[in-house]
């Protein structure tokens, strides 16, 4: 039982636990907090997978920016502190069954694939450097497109969320 296993086990537990709590809490703010835990645990899993840069990005963007963004959204739109109610029962059960079946099928699919025995070897390499090399040679155009995308999203969000000009 190596340390990797233990680490994986704990992190996986935290991840899944955070997600389950997110679903089962009643107040939205608690939900966001649970989700932040999940994000952090996923970052840990990334580190286990020797993807440090992705892990840091995850922490910065997800548990940093997006969680705070969601909190802003909640605070601005909550018109009462009431709980989140759920849909009526019959459809919920149908969805539960659907999701379970989906899970079982994909699980079986996962188990039946013959995965390769030789994983990639990232230990000797510098993760950031590798990513940088690939990003600016093979994937430079998507990189530039993503920056345009972010600009567009920024402008769009501002316009959408702005108050109407006449309304004062």
């Amino acid at each position: 039982m190596s340390g990797q296993f233990i680490a994986f086990f704990v992190l996986a537990l935290l991840t899944i636990g955070g997600a389950v709590f997110m679903i089962s809490f009643h107040r939205v703010v608690h939900m966001v907090v649970a989700l932040a835990f999940t994000f952090l645990s996923i970052a840990g899993l990334y580190i286990l997978l020797e993807a440090e840069f992705v892990a840091m990005t995850q922490i910065l963007v997800y548990s940093g920016a997006i969680s705070v963004l969601m909190l802003f959204g909640i605070m601005l739109t909550r018109h009462d502190a009431s709980e989140v109610q759920e849909k009526k029962s019959p459809v919920k059960w149908l969805i539960r069954i659907g999701v379970s079946v989906f899970f079982i099928i994909v699980f079986l699919g996962i188990q039946s694939v013959q995965w390769s025995d030789k994983p990639a070897d990232f230990t000797a390499k510098d993760n950031v450097k590798e990513i940088g090399v690939q990003m600016f040679t093979n994937y430079v155009i998507p990189f530039e497109m993503v920056s345009v995308l972010l600009l567009v999203a920024l402008v769009g969000a501002i316009i959408l969320a702005k108050k109407e000009a006449e309304e004062e």
Partner: protein, 103 residues
């Protein structure tokens, strides 16, 4: 003996299913957005796992996941902007009450 890839994929699957359930069931629009973020995270985990242990392991998996994170962030921002503007119009964030498509 390292952690087999199946485990990572399983965790991702569980996260995905939970996120799906939340997206289809919850009434508060913010919670729906949260669930969508969860689903995207599950996908990211898959990608990074395949980058290391998949059939053709390559760093492209991590690069792909970076892009996914970016797009997810942009989508969250725009989604919340829409939500706020809707809230201003209808004074509610319950998804059930946004049903103009029916009539």
């Amino acid at each position: 003996m390292s952690v087999p890839i199946n485990s990572y994929l399983l965790v991702a699957l569980i996260l995905f299913c939970i996120g799906l359930y939340g997206a289809l069931t919850k009434r508060n629009a913010v919670v729906v957005l949260l669930s969508i973020e969860l689903m995207l995270n599950a996908v990211n985990l898959n990608l990074v796992a395949f980058a290391k242990y998949g059939l053709f392991p390559h760093i492209s998996g991590q690069i792909f996941s970076l892009f996914t994170i970016t797009v997810a962030a942009a989508e969250a921002a725009v989604g919340l902007a829409i939500l706020i503007s809707l809230y201003r119009n209808r004074n509610t964030v319950q998804v059930d009450e946004m049903d103009l498509m029916k009539r």
